[in-house]
């Protein structure tokens, strides 16, 4: 039941913001289910496969999906994800997490000011 609730929240977030929903899934798997950080992030990625597939189908019905642009950023990202998951196995997360938080803040400011 807890897992279903996590999935529902992730799905709404995903459709709302065009993201995978991992932002919701990872902390909830850690805090509510008790997964380790690595288990939570790995499981989140697999859940997003299903979430994003559903999102793509729904958005493409409304003509809001551009295949060329998706390939332009998505294919390099697949390479990046292989590197990211490999590095994750041995890198201490704290400094990277702070960097990621700073990056999000910058993007947020850009979105609000443009």
């Amino acid at each position: 039941m807890r897992l279903v609730a996590i999935g529902l929240a992730a799905g709404v977030f995903s459709a709302f913001f065009g993201v995978g929903g991992g932002i919701v899934v990872v902390p909830l798997l850690v805090l509510v289910v008790g997964f380790s950080e690595r288990e939570a992030t790995a499981t989140s990625l697999a859940a997003i496969v299903i979430t994003a597939t559903a999102g793509v189908l729904i958005f493409s019905l409304r003509g809001e999906v551009d295949l060329g642009y998706a390939a332009l950023v998505g294919l390099p990202a697949a390479v990046g994800a292989l590197a990211g998951t490999a590095w994750q196995q041995r890198v201490r997360e704290s400094m990277l997490t702070y960097g990621f938080a700073a990056l999000l803040t910058v993007i947020g400011v850009v979105l609000l000011t443009t």
């Binding site: 279903v4 996590i6 999935g7 529902l8 992730a10 799905g11 977030f13 995903s14 459709a15 913001f17 065009g18 993201v19 995978g20 929903g21 899934v25 990872v26 902390p27 289910v33 997964f35 950080e37 288990e39 992030t41 790995a42 499981t43 989140s44 990625l45 697999a46 859940a47 997003i48 496969v49 299903i50 979430t51 559903a54 729904i58 958005f59 409304r62 551009d66 642009y69 998706a70 332009l72 950023v73 998505g74 390099p76 990202a77 697949a78 990046g80 292989l82 590197a83 990211g84 490999a86 590095w87 994750q88 201490r92 990277l96 997490t97 702070y98 999000l104 993007i107 947020g108 979105l111």
Partner: protein, 131 residues
Amino acid sequence: MSASTVVFAILLGLAAGVLAGMFGVGGGILFVPTLVALGLGQLEAQGTSLLAILPTVLAGTWNQRRYGNLRMRTAIVVGVSSIVGVEFGARIVTELPEATLRKLFALLLFGVAVQLVWRTRRRRPRYPDPP
């Protein structure tokens, strides 16, 4: 599209993938603003982001499965229940003006940033790194 635009998109895609693999997210946090910067509307950027997320998370999942971190049953339950949420969210999102979506997305990013720092600062070394 100029050559520098293509390079910009590829580099940001690469960065999004690394972040996705590291933090177990899809990378949409970088895809959406990147696609908006490339000239897509907010909604089209979000739909396209979801498609770009697919190869990203497939690659990440494949790698994590090899490392033995994946809990497949949990992933399927969470993923399948998310479909209901996606349908619901997509219905609301197409009714909202794009400027509102951008503001909400910015607020989401601030919220996640705060939460990330908070989690990292309070994290106890419960799960030591493997040898």
